[in-house]
Symmetry: C2
Subunit: 131 residues, 2 copies
């Protein structure tokens, strides 16, 4: 059970921007600092920008910065945005389900509760809490 | 974030055996009931047997059955056994880690707490609870 590297890179990017709020940061800089491929980061930054977490300033001395204060960025919101799905088991989606127990399964109920408790920790913490 | 199908099949196998405790069950029967490949199930059953969750009776009218009462089978124990790792992020293992923040990262601490709360739900429930 693992979050995708896309989620990992998104969180690391936000952390990096939060620790350099006084200036614009380039993708190349984050790429170098974290050893993450530049191409991956372009997608990560584009997605975070599209959803209002970061701002891009174009031009020669451009770069990116947080669009919100760290205390306004809830970790669960980022994870929900970047994780392709939070379907702990295939039966969490009718589209992928192959299990005949789906309509009468307490295991699924248990896993829903476990996922809920996992996400609750991320709901209760912002980027400011992990700086 | 998803458990592997191996974990899924292991839990479904145990559920099936728990609902047919009065008799031996064949792998073919579980395979047909759940639409899971026979070869996958052989590995699942072998692993569950090796770790004392189920018993195999050989011979013409042989099959498998639970080796423990459902109330003795803790869901978390099964998941820990079957899931290749519970490393929510690559930094949970020094071997896979590429992140420079590893020794000073509150994000990892947050994700450890989230994983703990996820597993706690599975610790508190047995196979008997989800029948």
């Amino acid at each position: 059970m693992q979050l995708t590297s896309y989620t990992d890179y998104s969180l690391r990017t936000l952390l990096y921007l939060a620790t350099h709020q006084e200036r614009l940061v380039t993708i190349a800089e984050i790429s170098e600092h974290h050893g993450i491929s530049h191409n991956h980061l372009i997608k990560v930054v584009h997605n975070l920008g599209k959803h209002g977490f970061i701002q891009t300033v174009r031009g020669k001395s451009g770069g990116v910065r947080l669009a919100l204060k760290p205390e306004k960025i809830i970790i669960a919101d980022v994870v929900r945005l970047t994780e392709p799905h939070m379907n702990i088991q295939e039966c969490f989606s009718r589209e992928t389900n192959t299990c005949s127990l789906i309509d009468n399964c307490k295991l699924a109920g248990l896993l829903y509760q476990a996922r809920h408790d996992f996400m609750k920790v991320l709901e209760e913490n912002t980027l400011a809490d992990i700086l």
